[in-house]
């Protein structure tokens, strides 16, 4: 029987983990992924890792927080945590999200209506630790006691008193990276309370006050992007070489002469891909180049630092980094004097640049920003390209990236394309704005610290993997090739990890790719298949 967790357990001073994830507790997957004992037990932490790192949560470690050297260091971080809570409640330091935060802190009815909306909580077999309300309620309690200084009586009357100590903050830090920030729970809340926002604010407090953030998002993420141009580490020269290579390669393989324009001043469109696509899913940027060229679009890529990678990991943990990167994107477009910026197939890029940064990009930085979904839809239905949908006559389903669909309301364009070009298109259930996150949201798709990948594929992504299998339940075998269209780099990275872990290609014939690839694959003028089914 699972042990029930109390809110006050978070501050238990002993160094033991709060809960244990047992494979048998997880929601079952359809055949052939339902065999007992498969996949094997989770990757256990080594003795060395347990000695060096803080691992007091659930047996998984995403962040690799070193153990404090002494009590003075513990005290220093605890005090910083308190000052961080105060700054989160101040207009000067947190005007960016103060009103949404206060609303979410003050008006939760503790009805738990949001719990079953969370794919992590449900997939884990309803482990208390992963309730959307668990971390929020702890944080609410800490804010009430330490930042608002409410009296002791009111503290007792108003809720369980959670002690603030090193165990509390180190566990809360790790726990803030057990939520995909997909906001499905917020959608379910009758009050409009947003546990996803509270989680992000907790991450922000750790980053902006304590200087704690996952290496993949901060040091190797936003810092590298601002310095070199991309978290991939690609400098402008390397980028141009890579894209030139892709142009040559695809020109040869599909018999269509591809040529990507660079830094063209006054172009109608500045297309900003996620640079990770160039390395991990090169067919995606190649497909965009082919489509733009075939449709006669006046477009360009930028090779300026800040202009060629659309990712913005600041969205996941840090307002300052978010703003710095968004400003760089907009400055690049302003210098090139383009009419609009078009997002690549990247969900969080869409959300960061199209809406969240909208109130940061004032004056002449406010350059119109278009979604890849509407951009592609316009190309497909413009009549400038001939299509042969029979080339896509295989089962296709669509994953809705949370940041494009639930958070931005772009639901229809991608569906109209797929219904037109993919005769065997079918929806997952649920879909659209009610979709489930792929499990890679909130920065997880690029985080693989210690044994975190194991958690991502087994718990965070489990609901989505189940949905995919159910969408293809009429053609389950590997002999029928099936395509999960995920128009988002981070989602594709998560699918790639999941499909690799579950051997979904080999067992079920499933592969994942973007939307532009399906469009190019259906082009009548390209004789060679664009989509490759090889692993």
């Amino acid at each position: 029987m699972k042990k029930r967790l109390k809110l006050t357990d978070i501050s238990r001073e002993e160094d033991s983990q709060l809960t244990e994830i047992v494979p048998d507790d997880l929601i079952p997957l359809p055949a052939p992924y339902d065999k007992p004992g498969w996949p094997a037990d989770f990757q256990q932490l080594t003795a060395d890792q347990q000695q060096r790192l803080v691992c007091n949560l659930d047996g998984f470690v995403a962040l690799g927080l070193p153990r404090p050297r002494n009590e003075a260091e513990e005290k220093k971080y605890t005090e910083l945590f308190i000052s961080g809570m105060n700054k989160l409640l101040s207009r000067e330091n947190n005007w960016t999200f103060l009103q949404p935060l206060l609303l979410s802190l003050d008006y939760c009815a503790r009805c738990q209506t949001c719990n079953d909306a969370c794919h992590v909580y449900v997939a884990s077999g309803k482990n208390d630790l992963y309730r959307p309300t668990y971390r929020s309620e702890i944080f609410r309690n800490l804010v009430s006691r330490h930042a608002r200084r409410r009296g002791k009586l009111r503290g007792i009357f108003g809720g369980k008193n959670v002690d603030l100590n090193w165990s509390t903050i180190s566990r809360l830090y790790e726990l803030s990276y057990r939520c995909n920030l997909c906001r499905r729970c917020a959608q379910a809340c009758p009050m409009g309370v947003d546990n996803g926002l509270i989680t992000r604010e907790i991450r922000k407090l750790f980053s902006q006050e304590l200087g704690w953030a996952p290496q993949e998002l901060h040091e190797k993420g936003t810092v590298l992007q601002l310095k070199v141009g991309s978290p991939t580490g690609m400098s402008p020269d390397v980028l141009r070489d890579n894209v030139a290579f892709l142009d040559d390669d695809f020109s040869t393989s599909i018999g269509f002469n591809v040529s990507t324009p660079w830094d063209k001043e006054g172009a109608d469109v500045l297309l900003i891909h996620s640079a990770g696509d160039i390395l991990s899913f090169p067919e995606s940027p190649a497909a965009f180049s082919i489509l733009c060229q075939a449709a006669g679009i006046d477009w360009t890529l930028s090779s300026e630092i800040g202009g060629y990678d659309g990712v913005n990991y600041g969205l996941f943990y840090d307002d300052i980094q978010l703003a710095r990167i968004a400003v760089r994107h907009a400055e690049t477009a302003r210098k090139l004097n383009v009419n609009k910026i078009v997002m690549g197939e990247c969900g969080h890029q869409h959300k960061a640049l199209m809406t969240v940064a909208d109130r940061v990009l004032t004056g002449d930085l406010n350059i119109p920003r278009e979604s890849a979904m509407t951009f592609l839809e316009d190309i497909v239905f413009s009549g400038k390209i001939n299509f042969d949908p029979s080339k896509n006559d295989f089962p296709v389903t669509l994953h809705d990236p949370c940041n494009i669909v639930r958070n931005l309301g772009i639901v229809g364009p991608q569906r109209r394309i797929l219904r037109y070009l993919c005769p065997q298109f079918r929806e997952m259930m649920p879909h659209g704005v009610d979709n489930y996150c792929c499990g890679g949201g909130g920065g997880f798709s690029v985080m693989s610290g210690v044994n975190f990948t194991n958690w991502k594929v087994n718990i965070a992504g489990r609901m989505k993997f189940k949905q995919v299998l159910e969408a293809f339940s009429d053609r389950p075998g590997p002999e029928v090739k099936k395509y999960v269209c995920a128009p988002c780099l981070n989602c594709k990275l998560q699918f790639r990890d999941m499909f690799s872990y579950y051997r979904a290609g080999e067992k079920s014939g499933i592969k994942c790719g973007g939307l532009a690839e399906l469009i190019v694959n259906a082009m009548a003028d390209i004789k060679q298949a664009f989509i490759s089914w090889e692993e």
Binding site: L98, I320, A323, T362
Partner: protein, 307 residues
Amino acid sequence: MISGIFWPVFVFSAIALFVIGTAYRVLSLSRQPVHLRWELSPIPHVKGRGSYGGSDFEEFEWWKGPRRRSLLAPLAYMAVEIFLLRSVFKNNKRLWPFSLGMHLGVYLIILTAPLYVAVAIILAGGMPSSDTNSLREVTYVLGVTGYLLGISGVLGLLVLRSVVNDLRSFTSASGYFNLAFLGAVFLSGINACLSLPDFTGTVGQYAKDLITLDPTISIPFLLSLHVIISILFLIYLPWTNMSHFIAKYFTYHSVRWNDAPRDAKMDTELRRLMGRPVSWSAGHVQADGDRSWIEIATEKATDEKTP
């Protein structure tokens, strides 16, 4: 038995305190600084698209087209949310019947208030009590239904919160107290309603005496008890998270559905906010308490090691 000038002073002071408390809540929420956009679909005011969660961004070159807005769709959405508790029904069926009962109870009792005022006005105008019979019958049915629904809802919620682990571990002492307090309003109401021979007539007469500031005002003990409990609840309400009826406007209109583009007024406010000093401590922020948010956000990055 309490009588005389106490009643108008007590009741009107309490109403004033409720209005002040509510206004304080509204002002404290509405005076928060403009925040970054954080909308969440579905946004029902997006005409033609809101029903499935679509937004203006579904339009090619969306900034060129008109922003078509529906006035009715958000009202219809909120009506279903407020009166039928759509989100609770969809996501928490175990809680829904009791929560719905409690809320409908509150709505019906609120609905009886203007009806009693109408009775009072008729009586104050010198019309005979018999002229208010129909109105009082309707009020009586609404009141009894409201009290009974409210009691069943509150009892159900108290039991669920005490018995079900998921709810119990998140329910504070104030959570139980709030429910019990509201339950006392309903319970004292039904008690007075069923015990007094002419409940609605007595309340109507009482309301008339209140609005005419009659110094000889006097009511039976059971009604006094109900009025005092209800009035105390009214004073208490704005200072608790039961005032979510206020917050809900802001969580939906100011956050979830706030897709407003910037205008000159907002730009002025944003410039003011971005010009204020920031004091975050982490090294990469490079704040010193003097440098402004905009200075920090537009500068080049520095190397920063994560722990």
